[in-house]
């Protein structure tokens, strides 16, 4: 058993947040001076092999974050709601998988939610300064007062996590209970889990604990058991222990090799530089041409030629004084 996180001290001094503004490592659409010293990285480890699908975590998340999910309808499966929403930051996804080797039906239950990527695609895509921040302990958090509701974070995220609220039009996702972690607590889901399928601590501790679990699983015949800490996004601060770590996608489409989409990289990378350069060149070329070539002016001669042409034409005699300004509109 993993040692549980002790209850908080009631001493008011213990309530001072352990991290905050000064520990922001990345800030959307801004350049920040990274803090001189990085906090110890934290992580949540979700041991899929221990999960019994009770959804205590899902309920605890709603409760701690004071969210209410709509009363839905039964779709004939355990998933409820059917997808993450702006209220459901974490969702149990159930998969019935027939193991081709054993012909056994395996019930795979994955707790979906933000992975708190080391290289967060949401933050990279976000156009609004400070709407998404990453603390040096690895937590990626949305700051709603800065969010404009554009949904770019949804396009940037390799895990399809953020959701835009239809009420305040800002983006929501799991905060890794940054408010609880700030005062030395673990996330609400972790606290509620009856089987310790969710544990929380430093990233190192969690990797160590995962190793222990994986050894145990291997000894029981799950030879492909392993840790899901995808390096394509620089590792994550929410990790899974999977019995079949060689095929993450059987767990309700958990990406096998998540990375920020190359389309997003192109959009946020070269398109911006090339775009600014191209517009700059176009404007500069105009100014330069004007300075070098000077304005293109109509000459007296042009006017005279036009008068000759207009006069020469076989027109009915102009009514009224010549050059009258009466013109059809």
């Amino acid at each position: 058993m993993f040692p549980p996180i002790p209850n908080p001290s009631v001493d008011p001094a213990a309530a001072t947040p352990r991290f905050g503004e000064k520990d922001i490592m990345r800030r959307s659409a801004s350049t920040v001076e990274p803090p001189a010293q990085r906090l110890t990285e934290v992580a949540k480890l979700i041991d899929v092999t221990k999960c019994i699908g009770c959804k205590a975590c899902q309920a605890a998340c709603l409760e701690w974050n004071q969210l209410t999910e709509e009363v839905g309808i039964n779709h004939g499966v355990y998933d409820n709601p059917m997808d993450l929403t702006e209220n459901t930051f974490t969702l149990m996804r159930f998969t019935e998988w027939v193991n081709p080797e054993t012909e056994n039906l395996e019930w795979l239950i994955r707790k979906d939610g933000c992975m708190h990527c080391e290289d967060p695609g949401c933050l990279k895509a976000c156009p609004s300064p400070g709407a998404i921040v990453q603390y040096s302990n690895g937590i990626v958090d949305f700051q709603h007062e800065n969010c404009i509701g554009c949904g770019y974070c949804i396009k940037g995220c390799p895990f399809n996590i953020p959701r835009i609220s239809k009420v305040d039009h800002t983006a929501y996702k799991c905060t890794l209970c940054s408010d609880r972690v700030a005062v030395g607590q673990g996330p609400a889901c972790q606290k509620a889990c009856p089987t310790q399928a969710i544990v929380f601590g430093t990233k190192e501790e969690m990797k160590g604990w995962a190793d222990f679990r994986i050894k145990d699983l291997k000894s029981r015949g799950f030879e492909n058991a392993g840790l899901y800490d995808p390096q394509g996004v620089g590792g994550t601060h929410v990790m899974y222990v999977l019995h079949h770590a060689d095929q993450p996608s059987i767990y309700a489409n958990l990406p096998d090799n998540p990375r920020i989409s190359p389309i997003v990289e192109t959009w946020k990378g070269i398109t911006k530089y090339m775009g600014m350069a191209l517009m700059g060149v176009a404007a500069a070329a105009g100014v330069l041409h004007y300075l070098v070539a000077g304005p293109n002016k109509v000459t007296e001669e042009d006017e005279e030629n036009a008068e000759k042409l207009a006069g020469a034409a076989d027109l009915p005699p102009p009514a009224g004084p010549a050059g009258s300004e009466g013109r059809p509109t």
Partner: protein, 246 residues
């Protein structure tokens, strides 16, 4: 558009003479180029394009995010941009219907393009005579038409508030890449367009008062001027009975 009086000496089919175009002899000669409706239509398009460029660029790069201030903040910018896009699309569609015929490519356009360096160097006398629009203007017209079509299509795919469920995230990613790249090209074409209007003196009045001087028409669109002069009903009294059939 082809209702020519057979007695009138018109060298080539003058399908770039549009209803409302007319010459008024005088000193200087004035030439009607755009009707009031066409001008209103143009300015709605122009204003919405500029607002779209400003609100779009605000989201395009953090350095220009401050432009959201013009629209009442980030949330308002996000809300307004696509709606202005709808205005632009509708307004441009009308403009397209008005102008497309006069922008059809002609043989002379290739010759004009071959001489475009003469134009830029100020040797306009070497340019071939062109009709209502030269190849440069036609380029602006057709590229804007295509770019705006791509912008509205990609824009709707990205318009999460109303269209989120209809496309996949991968499609939205492609749309946003296409949208931002296309927007850059549209802004560049816009720069070319505005620069041409500034560089070629006497052009602005075409879109403000609706007319240009005879000298301007002679210098830049001589074929159009010739066609107009040859066209009956260009007397100051108005279009008379010979308004070309649309």
């Amino acid at each position: 558009m082809s209702a020519h009086d057979p007695k009138t000496p018109v060298p080539t089919p003058a399908d770039d003479v549009q209803s409302g175009d007319a010459v008024h002899p005088g000193h200087p000669v004035t030439v009607d180029r755009y009707t009031v409706a066409a001008r209103i239509n143009h300015w709605i398009t122009a204003v919405s394009l500029v607002l779209l460029a400003l609100s779009g660029l605000a989201l395009f790069t953090p350095r220009l995010f401050f432009l959201t201030g013009l629209f009442g903040g980030g949330q308002m910018t996000r809300i307004l941009h696509p709606w202005i896009g709808v205005v632009l699309f509708c307004s441009f569609a009308l403009l397209f219907v008005r102008f497309w015929r006069a922008n059809l490519p002609k043989r002379v356009d290739a010759e004009w393009l071959a001489h475009s360096s003469d134009l830029l160097a100020g040797r306009e006398e070497k340019m071939p005579e062109v009709g209502k629009y030269n190849a440069g203007q036609k380029f602006v017209f057709w590229s804007m038409s295509a770019l705006i079509l791509v912008l509205i299509t990609s824009g709707i795919v990205m318009w999460d508030q109303y269209f989120y469920p209809y496309t996949t995230i991968e499609q939205k990613r492609i749309a946003i890449l296409v949208h931002s790249a296309t927007a850059i090209f549209a802004i560049c074409v816009w720069i070319v367009h505005v620069y041409a209007a500034i560089w070629v003196k006497g052009t602005f009045s075409a879109m403000t008062r609706g007319n240009v001087t005879g000298g301007w028409a002679w210098r830049h669109h001589r074929k159009w001027l010739r066609e107009l002069v040859g066209k009956p009903g260009s007397a100051p009294t108005g279009r008379g009975t010979h308004t070309p059939a649309e």
